[in-house]
Symmetry: C2
Subunit: 219 residues, 2 copies
Amino acid sequence: MTTLLHIDASARKNRSISRSLGESFKNQWLSANPEDKFIYRDVGSAPPDFISEDWIAAAFTQENERTDEQISLLRVSDLLIEELSQASVIIVSTPMYNYGMPASMKAWIDQVVRVNKTFTFDLNRGDSPLEPIMSDKSLVLLTSCGEFGFGESGTRKNMNHLGPHFRTISKYLGIDEVHEVNVEYQEFSDIRHKQSIEKAYESIPRVVKRVTTKLDSLA
Amino acid sequence: MTTLLHIDASARKNRSISRSLGESFKNQWLSANPEDKFIYRDVGSAPPDFISEDWIAAAFTQENERTDEQISLLRVSDLLIEELSQASVIIVSTPMYNYGMPASMKAWIDQVVRVNKTFTFDLNRGDSPLEPIMSDKSLVLLTSCGEFGFGESGTRKNMNHLGPHFRTISKYLGIDEVHEVNVEYQEFSDIRHKQSIEKAYESIPRVVKRVTTKLDSLA
């Protein structure tokens, strides 16, 4: 049995393309693997708190030296990290807001990337002192953008701070492979948008298959 | 008289390098231009709300058709946009959190980039339908990073989703020039960190001068 963590980040519950992509991925996964467990985290509807000065101090305090208040401050972080830790596959369905991830999604990242929980820090490692604690996870990133050309060969490649940011951070979440499915052209509502949606839905079964194959190879 | 908007984004009030850089910039600016007006917005200590489905609906409702509730939902956004609109120079002092801007800073961006307030949208413009409403602003981006090599020729260039993200979004805020001052190596606490801090403080007077020269040329 595999555990999957599905994170929705759209502020919209209605007519959200990224939410529909996530739903479709989940349904296709479950019909192929009905025993698998999905953990669901809706940061779009219920964003985690922003980290604060006290949160940072608590995170950098040794576990056995934390006050009750500090323990309480880290409770959301503990929960989100526990959810991540259980999952071999992370599905993030998110819109692009202002060329990056929604603030609510970044709030999740800021709560989850935490010393001695998701990464260790050791200056003996030289100029790359951070190492992830978790490993072997796959990220499926399902996105929706208003504009277009954010891909590797696109005209807005350098304006894409969503997928590339997730790829950078994924290492510290124990993710070693990233699959992206992107819908573009949303604000044009034209034939290109329709085709982009069709292409995205066509690629979902392929991603389901590739992630399943990877999980099988690890088993 | 010039109006400047200074935004602090560090969650830390104490020992924050980015806050110190912002403070230094402000002091140097005011000693050269004592008449100028500073607007201060501390998103690190008091983050703006995340945008919500109702917020989006309100933003896309014609101004004269908004309900009282919608008007109220946009009040923070109206205020932050008004602050931006007054300023010719925007100083953002921010740490890099997890290779990008803090969630609180992104919450500010998501509140401020708004149709018919900061940008217009017109499909008659073809494949680039968005145009900024404001213009001629300068952004001074003062950052602090734990690691290093995030510059143009650095080994972590592709992991930098802070400066490049600001450069992309700045166009929609009416910003036409960006000056960056970066402190790196914070988590190493070594001679390189000390040198990076020294270099950053040395460059602040140059940035003050360059922005002043630009303002003079616009006057």
